[in-house]
C-alpha cells in the first residue's frame, strides 16, 4: 500500500508542476472564479497531500473490491480526494462517474493518477460493484436502490456549513468573508448562515466591507440565470421578512433582529442572525444537526453551540474551505451505508 501512497504523491506533484496552469484554467472554467481564486484553489488543495496524511488514511475498507465513485458537480477539485480515498483503502479498481455538468477536472485528476499506474479510470455508465456516491440525498437513494445484491454502498449526501461568531471585529469579518467567497458557497462546507452572539449589526457591516474588499481580488463568478433568480428571490424575501439588506455588486449581506436559521442561495448571499449566547446558537442548529457538515467559529474551546447529533467538521473562521486531508471532505458519517 505504501506504493500507492508514493504513486498518489507523484500524481499530485505532476498536477502541481506540469498541469498546474491547465488545472487552474479548468477550475476557472468550472466555477467562473478569478485567476487568483483558481490559484488559491489548486494550491490549497494540493498542499494537503503529504505521505504522512495519506499514510494515516490507509486501511482495508475497500480491500480487494472494485469500487465505482459517483461524483457530484460541486467544488472543482473535490474529485481528487473522492478518488484517492478508495485507492489508499485497498480498492483493486476505481471506476469514476463524473457529473455531466463537471467532467474536465475529474478527467485531469484520473489521467494524472492513472499515469502513475494506479487502477483508476473513467466510467460514465451505470455504477457497478460497490459504490461510493456524492450528491443529493434523493440521488443517493435512487442509486442505492439500483445496486446488485451484496454490493456495498456509501453515500455522502446533503450538507451545509454555518459560522458561529462570539465576538466581532475586522479580523473575524475578513476570515468570514474568505469562507463565504471561496467556491461561491457551492460546497457542503460553505457557510450558509452566520449566528452571532455579539453585535450582529456591527458584524454584518464589517462582513459587508470585507466582502467588498475581497471582491477586488476575487470578483464573484457570474451567476447563471438559475442562481441569479434564486439570489434575487432570496434577497427580496429577506427584505420582506424584515431583515436589513446590505447590498453590493459582489454580494448581499442581510442582518436580522431575531434568531431564525436562514438558508442561502449561494453566490455570496448570507444572513447574519443574532443569538443571545452560544447555547441559543446550538438550539437553532439542533434541528439541522444531522445535515450540518462544518462549523467555523471563534469559539473553538467553548462547546455550548454544539448541537446533539452534530458530527461535522469544526474549524477556525477562515478555514472552512480548507479541510485537512483526514477523510472525506465532509467528515460526517456517510448519509447511507448498505449493507449495514
Amino acid at each position: 500500500m505504501s506504493a500507492r501512497v508514493d504513486a498518489v504523491m507523484r500524481a499530485v506533484s505532476a498536477l502541481r508542476a506540469r498541469d498546474g496552469g491547465a488545472l487552474r484554467d479548468a477550475v476557472r472554467a468550472a466555477s467562473g472564479c478569478s485567476e487568483d481564486a483558481a490559484r488559491w484553489c489548486v494550491e490549497s488543495v494540493l498542499a494537503r497531500y503529504s505521505p504522512a496524511a495519506l499514510d494515516a488514511l490507509r486501511d482495508a475498507r475497500w480491500e480487494g473490491r472494485a469500487v465505482t465513485v459517483v461524483l457530484a458537480a460541486t467544488v472543482p477539485l473535490a474529485a481528487l480526494r473522492a478518488v484517492v480515498l478508495p485507492l489508499v483503502q485497498g480498492a483493486t479498481e476505481v471506476r469514476v462517474r463524473p457529473s455531466r455538468r463537471q467532467r474536465e477536472i475529474p478527467e485531469r485528476v484520473i489521467e494524472a493518477l492513472a499515469a502513475q499506474g494506479l487502477p483508476v479510470h473513467l466510467d460514465p455508465g451505470e455504477p457497478r460493484g460497490d459504490v461510493i456516491a456524492y450528491g443529493r440525498d434523493e440521488t443517493l437513494e435512487a442509486l442505492a436502490g439500483r445496486l446488485a445484491p451484496g454490493a456495498r454502498f456509501e453515500g455522502h449526501g446533503h450538507g451545509f456549513g454555518a459560522a458561529v461568531v462570539r465576538g466581532g471585529g475586522a479580523g473575524v469579518a475578513a476570515a468570514l468573508a474568505r469562507d463565504v467567497a471561496a467556491y461561491e458557497q457551492q460546497g457542503c462546507l460553505s457557510p450558509q448562515v452566520v449566528l452571532c452572539a455579539g453585535d450582529a449589526r456591527e458584524l454584518a457591516a464589517a462582513l459587508h466591507a470585507a466582502l467588498s474588499e475581497l471582491a477586488a481580488r476575487w470578483p464573484r463568478a457570474t451567476m447563471d440565470l438559475g442562481v441569479g433568480a434564486a439570489a434575487l428571490q432570496w434577497t427580496g424575501a429577506q427584505a420582506a421578512l424584515g431583515a436589513v439588506v446590505l447590498r453590493a455588486p459582489s454580494h448581499v449581506v442581510t442582518v436580522w433582529d431575531r434568531p431564525a436559521l436562514q438558508a442561502s442561495p449561494g453566490a455570496r448571499h448570507i444572513a447574519v442572525v443574532p443569538v443571545r449566547d452560544l447555547n441559543e446558537a446550538g438550539a437553532l442548529l439542533a434541528p439541522e444537526a444531522r445535515h450540518l457538515s462544518c462549523v467555523g467559529t471563534d469559539a473553538l474551546e467553548d462547546p455550548r453551540w454544539r448541537p446533539e447529533g452534530f458530527a461535522g467538521r469544526v474549524c477556525a473562521l477562515g478555514e472552512m474551505q480548507d479541510p485537512p486531508l483526514d477523510g472525506p471532505e465532509d467528515r460526517r458519517p456517510p448519509t447511507r451505508v448498505t449493507p449495514r
Binding site: 451567476m223 447563471d224 438559475g226 442562481v227 441569479g228 433568480a229 434564486a230 439570489a231 434575487l232 427580496g236
Partner: protein, 205 residues
C-alpha cells in the same frame, strides 16, 4: 376582485363559491358555465387555473361548452396533474369548440393588474402601460434583443402595490417589441395560481 366584476355585470346572479371545505366542486363549476351560456350572460374564466380542470374533466364527460375564444396561459403543473401547453390548447379547442388559432395565450400573474396577450404563436405583447423586460440577474441591466433573461414587469396599473415585479420566469425580447416566455429559471420555486388550483384538485379527490 372577481366578486366586484360579478356584481357590476350581473347583479341578479351573485358570484357563487365553488370551493367547499378546501376542495373544488367541479360539477358545480361545469353547471355554472353551462348556465352562463345564454345570450345575455357572460362567463369570464379568470385563468387556466379555473378552465383547465373543466377541460380535463370534460375529456371523459360533458358535451362541449360553446365559446368564441379560448384562453391558455401556459401549462398546468403540480401534483394533481401535469398538462403541457400544447395539450392544454388542444383541450381548450375541443372542449370550447373553437379553432386552435382562437385559443390565445396570456402572460400575467396575481401580482400584476395587467396582462400581456399572445399576438403571434409564442409571442406576447404588453399593453402600453405595462413593460416586460428581460434582465441580467447580476447587474439588473436590460438584456439585448434576442438574449435570454429574467422577466421584470412594470405595470402602471399597480396603483396600490409595487409597480415593478421581478419574476423567475425566463424570457426573450424580440425586435418588434413582443416577447416570448421560455419557462422558469432552473431551481426557481414553482409559483402561480395553478399551484393553488393543484391543492384544490387534490382536496377534491
Amino acid at each position: 376582485m372577481l366578486a366586484r366584476f360579478a356584481e357590476r355585470w350581473d347583479p341578479e346572479h351573485p358570484a357563487p363559491f365553488f370551493v367547499r371545505g378546501g376542495a373544488l366542486d367541479l360539477a358545480a363549476v361545469i353547471d355554472s358555465v353551462r348556465d352562463a351560456q345564454g345570450p345575455s350572460r357572460c362567463w369570464a374564466p379568470p385563468s387556466r387555473s379555473c378552465t383547465s380542470p373543466i377541460c380535463l374533466d370534460a375529456r371523459t364527460a360533458a358535451p362541449p361548452l360553446r365559446a368564441q375564444r379560448g384562453h391558455a396561459d401556459g401549462r398546468l403543473q403540480g401534483r394533481a396533474r401535469e398538462v403541457s401547453e400544447g395539450e392544454l390548447r388542444a383541450l381548450l379547442s375541443r372542449v370550447l369548440e373553437v379553432d386552435r388559432a382562437q385559443v390565445v395565450g396570456e402572460y400575467g400573474m396575481t401580482e400584476l393588474s395587467s396582462q400581456a396577450w399572445e399576438v403571434a404563436p409564442g409571442r406576447f405583447r404588453a399593453p402600453p402601460w405595462m413593460r416586460v423586460t428581460p434582465i441580467d440577474p447580476n447587474t439588473l441591466a436590460r438584456k439585448e434583443i434576442g438574449e435570454v433573461g429574467l422577466l421584470r414587469c412594470h405595470d402602471l396599473l399597480n396603483l396600490g402595490s409595487s409597480a415593478a415585479v421581478l419574476t423567475s420566469d425566463l424570457g426573450v425580447l424580440h425586435g418588434d417589441g413582443t416577447f416570448s416566455v421560455l419557462g422558469r429559471a432552473a431551481g426557481a420555486t414553482p409559483r402561480g395560481c395553478a399551484r393553488a388550483m393543484d391543492h384544490l384538485l387534490l382536496g377534491a379527490r
